[in-house]
């Protein structure tokens, strides 16, 4: 059997490269009667903030060609409820748990991390500096190089845990943002968060999502994600976690060839909540058929 485990640098090994994408798999417990959550190499939880957030008003989602827009607005139960209600489920998982964090200020990030550092069932943090549909503390952190550098450095000083910075594609030069994250001590870069998008109902003349401009995800953005992985792969040496439009095993191999060490499944969880099982089987078959011993042999190995 080929080896499908992956090492994210020296600090973190996953049994397989398939993670969930934040905000598309809840806290994992919602579908635990439907999907064996431990099939994933890691679970990434919905963006967590210090206080609960109710999120944006309706409408929050809209279908677009081979994709969707969302403006959930980082609705989440907040740090205390997370630890009280979700810990029992998450701490009992055999797979790794990555907590995705979103905050309005640097201080809020630090407070959340300091509290979570006491929890030994958490493996890593993914820092969401790229949410396109909240007013404060979303993408602003991820589009300004100076702000990003200061934040990453502060977070690195705060925790020794595996630190993933999640980047936005809505910038002129994503490679530069990735370099800043790397230079500031990030252990890995995940990308992409959603792409700016909008849609208008031509009869009501209302925007199809409440914030007018929201985040585009799904198969439509797969080539955009792939291009960004390629750019970042040649700019940094920390591992990349590829996200964006993955639907099946082929897409995962494509992203790994482009330079991703691991990947996240987002919108596909809505289209096919069982995707992970088929993807893992596909990867194993692909490796066997291509006579490859390990998935890690092909990271970034496309012909330039």
């Amino acid at each position: 059997m080929p080896d499908i485990s992956v090492k994210l640098g020296t600090k973190l090994t996953l049994t397989n490269p398939i993670m969930t994408a934040s905000g598309t798999f809840g806290y994992g417990d919602e579908v635990s009667d439907l999907v064996d959550v431990n099939q994933f190499g890691a679970i990434v939880t919905k963006s967590l903030s210090l206080e609960p957030r109710v999120g944006n008003p309706a409408p929050r989602i809209a279908e677009t060609p081979s994709g969707m827009l969302n403006s959930i607005g980082l609705a989440n139960i907040g740090l205390e409820a997370f630890l009280a209600d979700k810990k029992p489920f998450l701490a009992a998982l055999s797979t790794k748990v990555v907590v995705n964090i979103a905050a309005r200020t640097e201080d809020e990030f630090i407070t959340v991390i300091e509290r979570l550092d006491a929890e030994d069932w958490i493996t890593a943090y993914e820092i969401n500096v790229s949410c396109p549909n909240v007013k404060e503390g979303g993408i602003a952190f991820g589009t300004n190089p100076v702000v990003l550098k200061k934040l990453c450095e502060a977070l690195r000083r705060t925790t020794k845990r595996f630190l993933i910075i999640k980047l936005s594609p809505n910038v002129t030069d994503i490679a530069k943002m990735a370099q800043i994250a790397e230079d500031s001590g990030a252990d890995a870069i995940s990308l992409i968060n959603t792409v700016y998008g909008a849609a208008i109902d031509i009869y009501s003349r209302k925007p199809k999502i409440n914030t007018v401009i929201g985040g585009l995800s799904g198969p439509a953005i797969k080539p955009i994600a792939c291009a960004n992985i390629i750019k970042v792969f040649s700019a940094v040496s920390v591992p990349i976690i590829g996200i964006g439009g993955i639907c099946n095993g082929e897409d995962v191999i494509e992203f790994i060839l482009a330079g991703a060490t691991a990947v996240q499944l987002g919108t596909v969880n809505f289209m096919n909540p069982h995707a992970v099982g088929g993807i893992i089987r596909y990867i194993e078959n692909y490796l066997q058929q291509q006579r490859l011993g390990a998935i890690s042999d092909i990271i970034g190995c496309f012909e330039r």
């Binding site: 905000g23 598309t24 798999f25 579908v31 919905k46 999120g55 309706a58 279908e63 809505f270 909540p273």
Partner: protein, 259 residues
């Protein structure tokens, strides 16, 4: 345990203007289904990526029934289902209508294809020995899901008067209400404006009103947080509920249509 499975189409036919009835063989879902619950229908390789939710309109033996109105691309695809075709479905999803305590009369109130979940509820009520009152409205007689019924006391209203009384079904229902002063549970499903129009009924303390809501859904599983409905002020469990997970059936008291 819910599961995404390949059901098989047993029958699929047009039964009214733009409205189809499909019977799908899917023993697990049929065995577990409760009235008010829904299933997701999945459309692989489609430009539209969301599964589509449909109320379970009946469950008997290994089969479930759907009633669906063709309004866009995916219901159009469904209208082409042929016996034997495999269909990817997941369910049962969501919560359900509950049979009220003995002594409380129950009334079903449906607009258009909103009758679907109530047909299933009627079946279960009838099986439990209750023959509910069923108020059914449609635009014209051509859009009625049923015209006569042995399992309920059916009252029909059509906008154009082509069958039953002329006008809104809610009007006929209000008329009926004026004669009632015993406890009553109303279970309603239909277009949002119809459900919204029931709000004043809450002033009558004898009435409990349950409504089944429809919202655009991306997942149907509580994963995406997309299908929100605003909680009414006195409900303290957070500002929004998820129609797919906390519903689709809500106590009308708990929700705020204006947001």
């Amino acid at each position: 345990m819910r599961s995404l499975i390949n059901g098989s189409v047993l029958d699929n036919r047009q039964i009214a203007e733009d409205i189809y009835r499909a019977t799908i063989v899917t023993p697990d879902i049929a065995g577990a289904a409760l009235p008010g619950q829904f299933i997701n229908v999945y459309f692989p390789d489609s430009v539209k990526i969301f599964p589509r939710p449909f109320s379970i309109a009946g469950a008997e033996g290994s089969n479930i029934q759907l009633f669906y109105k063709v309004i866009g691309s995916q219901t159009e695809l469904m209208s082409q289902w042929k016996p034997g075709d495999p269909v990817k479905i997941l369910g049962p999803l969501g919560n359900s209508f509950e049979i009220p305590a003995p002594g409380t009369e129950i009334v079903l109130l449906a607009g258009g294809v909103g009758a679907a979940p109530l047909l299933f509820f009627r079946d279960r009520l009838y099986e439990s020995g209750v023959k509910p009152k069923f108020f059914l409205g449609a635009r014209t007689q051509n859009q009625l899901l049923l015209r006569a019924d042995t399992k309920s006391e059916l009252t029909i209203a059509t906008d154009d008067g082509s069958c039953g009384s002329r006008g809104l079904v809610t009007a006929v229902f209000y008329e009926f209400l004026t004669g009632i002063d015993s406890p009553l549970t109303v279970c309603a499903c239909g277009p949002d404006p119809m459900l919204k129009a029931l709000k004043p009924m809450l002033e009558n303390s004898n009435l409990a009103v349950y409504v089944s809501l429809e919202k655009t859904m991306a997942c149907g599983l509580g994963l995406c947080q997309g299908c929100i409905v605003k909680n009414a002020g006195h409900n303290s469990s957070g500002d929004y509920s998820l129609v797919c997970r906390d519903g689709p059936v809500f106590n009308l008291r708990d929700i705020d249509f204006n947001a």
